[in-house]
């Protein structure tokens, strides 16, 4: 039955969006992490979405094909008292843009909600189809 594909499509999108939400929360949590395991400031991460074609079916889902590091330069904060400050007194901060991440978070949450509603609609229709003729 072709309607069953909708569950696959919506769930793949929900997985992708929740992964995006995960990355957003990691970025926001580390917005002020001046150092990490490699000694450098934290770099913002972004997910890359790609269309995922199911074999034979026309509809297509979503998959995350990778998590890339944001290459934009980090903030430089003047704080000579800081233990990690350089010779000029500047501290290299992460390149996380908190405003961008909040927007990203809302967009991911809305897309997730959209897919939940798609799934609910498909479920209602299928249940009604099963009750046909009763």
């Amino acid at each position: 039955m072709s309607m069953l594909n909708i569950f696959e499509i919506a769930s793949s999108a929900m997985t992708a969006q929740s992964q995006r939400l995960n990355v957003v929360s990691s970025n926001l949590a580390n917005a002020d992490s001046v150092t990490s395991s490699n000694g450098k400031p934290y770099r913002a991460k972004q997910v890359v979405f790609s269309e995922l074609a199911f074999g034979g079916a026309t509809g297509s889902g979503v998959k995350v094909i990778g998590v890339i590091e944001d290459s934009s330069p980090g903030r430089q904060v003047y704080d000579p008292k800081h233990p990690l400050a350089d010779a000029q007194g500047y501290v290299a901060m992460p390149n996380v843009s908190v405003v961008d991440e909040m927007v990203n978070m809302i967009a991911a949450a809305r897309s997730y909600q959209n897919n939940v509603e798609i799934m609910n609609t498909a479920k209602t229709l299928m249940l009604k189809t099963l009750a046909l003729g009763q």
Partner: protein
């Protein structure tokens, strides 16, 4: 089976319509799922044309592959119930994505409602037939 055919004919139209609606629902679901995928192009079908097509091919059901050998396969002429078209966007995104959420959501809701309506019609036809059978 000749005895089943009138009943089959009665339900055929709604069966075709339901199949098309389910197919379209799937396309719209994948449009909404890919709302954030760069380069994704929104797809849809022309429902009226597709249903007309299917109904016409049903009435001209004599057209089929000729089997001159017992081992020839019947085969079907198409694997998709309708021609899939690309939507022309009003406001495409800069990343090449042409999904417009307001359009897709309203189409999705509309399609779900039509599917529901089709089920209701089919149900009442079944009830009618049962009433005729049981008296």
């Amino acid at each position: 089976m000749a005895t089943i055919e009138p009943l089959d004919n009665l339900f055929q139209f709604h069966q075709n319509a339901l199949n098309l609606r389910a197919f379209r629902q799937q396309l719209l679901a994948s449009n909404i799922a890919n709302a954030d995928t760069p380069g994704y192009k929104a797809r849809d079908i022309d429902f009226a044309a597709a249903l007309r097509d299917i109904t016409a091919s049903r009435t001209a059901s004599t057209v089929s592959l000729r089997a001159t050998n017992g081992r020839h396969l019947g085969g079907s002429t198409r694997d998709e119930p309708a021609a899939v078209l690309y939507r022309s966007p009003q406001q495409p995104s800069i990343d090449g994505n042409t999904v417009e959420m307001d359009v897709e959501r309203s189409r999705f809701a509309e399609n779900a409602l039509h599917y529901d309506a089709n089920l209701t019609f089919l149900n009442s036809q079944i009830k009618l037939m049962l009433a005729a059978l049981q008296g």
